[in-house]
């Protein structure tokens, strides 16, 4: 690791801790009430969902419209797991229970991602989109009719293990992992499929394997997001994981820029907070929301960041440079 990279890591780490401290103080001093903390937690969960969807939609470049299905699988399996664990009388610390439940939710969703991905990834574009919609609808209808998880009435009595402290750090870890994935040889292989599948195959990349890998990884992280959702809401109902929820996540990714993880983060924040802020204009809410999207698609169809990433170090450097230029100009005038 060279010097510049170490510096970049340090600056990002400081920024992450500083942001955490800001929230910590706001919550401790009750400046942020429970309502706002709730929005912050939902934002973190949506960030995880958007980033995981970005693995398929952005890196692999495929239209996957069934992300809510994987989230539902993760949510239900992890909730069942943690309920069984707590009913079984195992008194683990809450964070351990949460992490175990997340791993279970992630793995179960990942397995489904693998099972669904293997046959369907022969399809491309719109066709894959339709198959994934169908899949997520099957999942939803399955949970509506499945007695052991409460059926249409929903699954009640999940222990609430998620609070802002742990969800913040989990989001940071997931963001880090997806970010590093994109910059590893596996990530490069997945991105090369998006760029040109035939060339990728001719360059020696086992494209089928990497497509399934990308699909399973996206499902895994969607399962993690679903677990957090389950342990935050402490109540799950199948109707939440409908088609519109998948579309909502897809919109976040498209708005942020397909392939840009920082874009996904920013647009997840905007698109989760904005509808809440507009709650007071209730009837104009959807109007403004769709207007924002339309304006965005006209003036910046590639999304907020396109395919590039926002870099904090580059941003700070450009600020410093600008300041130096200003200083030198100012100095010139003084003499």
């Amino acid at each position: 690791m060279d010097h510049n990279k170490k510096k970049a890591y340090l600056i990002n780490a400081i920024a992450i801790v500083a942001l955490y401290l800001v929230f910590f103080v706001l919550i401790q001093t009750k400046t942020m009430n429970n309502y706002f903390v709730g929005i912050a937690i939902m934002t973190c969960i949506m960030i995880i969902m958007a980033m995981s969807l970005n693995i398929v939609a952005g890196f692999l470049g495929e239209m996957a419209l069934g992300h809510a299905g994987f989230m539902a699988i993760g949510a239900y399996s992890s909730a069942s797991f943690s309920m069984a664990l707590i009913d079984g009388g195992l008194s683990l610390p809450p964070i351990i229970t949460l992490v175990l439940a997340m791993v279970v939710g992630g793995i179960v969703a990942g397995i489904f991602g693998f099972l669904i991905g293997t046959p369907t990834l022969r399809l491309r574009g719109d066709y894959l989109g339709i198959v994934t919609i169908g899949f997520s609808e099957i999942i939803r209808i399955f949970f509506i009719n499945f007695g052991p998880t409460g059926g249409a009435a929903g699954l009640k009595g999940i222990t609430r293990l998620v609070n802002f402290n742990n969800v913040y750090w989990i989001t940071i870890i997931v963001a880090f992992l997806i970010f590093t994935l994109g910059r590893s040889k596996q990530g490069r292989a997945i991105i090369s499929i998006r760029e040109d599948e035939i060339a990728s195959e001719a360059a020696g990349i086992p494209t089928t394997r990497y497509k399934v890998l990308a699909f399973s990884l996206a499902a895994f992280f969607a399962g993690v997001g679903g677990s957090l959702y389950a342990h935050y809401q402490s109540f799950l109902e199948p109707s939440k994981f409908g088609f519109m929820f998948s579309i909502e996540m897809f919109v976040i990714v498209v708005l942020g820029g397909l392939g840009s993880l920082t874009g996904s983060i920013i647009s997840a924040i905007v698109l989760t907070v904005l509808p809440e802020m507009l709650r007071s204009f209730s009837e104009y809410r959807l109007l403004v929301y769709s207007l924002v999207l339309i304006i965005m698609m006209i003036f910046r169809p590639q999304g907020i960041f396109g395919r590039s990433e926002f870099s904090l170090t580059a941003f700070i450097e450009s600020l410093i440079r600008r300041k130096n230029v200003k200083n030198s100009i100012g100095g010139g005038e003084a003499s």
Partner: protein, 252 residues
């Protein structure tokens, strides 16, 4: 020593026989040209040799191993790589990333090590970067390393595609019309490059080309196909004077 051989390979698309009982033997370190009029079946032959199409009949051996029904990426791993007639680069990635993708099989860390950025990740990535830069430098493209492939000049894009094909360390390099769309200067430079890489990397080169100056200038042996059949084979001088070839190109 034979590196790549094809025996009686035939490709039929429905009722159309695109390639009919084609034979090929490539020895180590040879530079062979494959020419023929439009629609003669040259690219189909390429596609069979690289695993894109599975021949209807016949046998293809690469380093004494049958590659029939192997997928293209498996064939790359066995030592045959190619370029495309219409350039197929990863347009939105930089030049060095393009090469790194083809270097994929030589980078040794797994996904977990990559995601958690262990020491192995850094050392392997550093090694990969250095190797890929070395390869770009061979093509005098070091300065373009961080340029997006789509922003490169046309001639550089062609060269980058060859560099990418070489990154998988092939024994046979197949070039599909490398000089297509190039001006005479660029073609002359390309001729030098092809000659140079053949000697530098000690590989066999098979190329399809329409530019007769290039083919006659550098190929040691030329195979002429027409209507999916070999109509002549020999040194450039023999081919130039072969009546069958003249008939195929100019008509009776």
């Amino acid at each position: 020593m034979t590196v790549l051989s094809a025996k009686n390979i035939t490709m039929q698309f429905g009722g159309l026989t695109a390639v009919d009982q084609f034979n090929l033997e490539l020895s180590a370190n040879e530079l062979v040209g494959l020419i023929g009029p439009n629609g003669a079946g040259k690219t189909t032959i390429f596609n069979m040799l690289t695993g894109v199409y599975v021949p209807t009949m016949g046998e293809i051996m690469l380093n004494d191993q049958s590659i029939i029904k192997k997928t293209p990426h498996e064939i790359v791993k066995l030592g045959a790589s190619r370029t495309f007639q219409n350039i197929r680069l990863f347009k939105d990635l930089t030049a060095v990333e393009n090469v790194k993708i083809a270097y994929h099989n030589f980078i040794d860390y797994n996904m977990v090590q990559g995601m958690f950025r262990t020491k192995k990740f850094w050392t392997e990535e550093k090694k990969a970067h250095e190797e890929c830069m070395k390869l770009l430098d061979i093509f005098d493209m070091g300065e373009y390393a961080d340029t997006l492939a789509k922003n490169l000049p046309y001639g550089q894009q062609r060269k980058l595609e060859i560099a990418r094909a070489l990154a998988s360390d092939p024994k046979v390099l197949m070039l599909d019309e490398p000089a297509a769309g190039m001006n005479p200067n660029e073609t002359a430079e390309l001729m030098e490059t092809i000659h140079f890489i053949r000697n530098k990397f000690d590989i066999t080169v098979l190329l399809i080309e329409h530019d007769m100056k290039l083919v006659m200038g550098i190929c040691e042996r030329i195979i002429v196909v027409d209507y999916g059949k070999t109509i002549a084979e020999g040194t450039p001088d023999e081919i130039k004077n072969n009546p069958d070839v003249i008939r195929a190109y100019l008509g009776d």
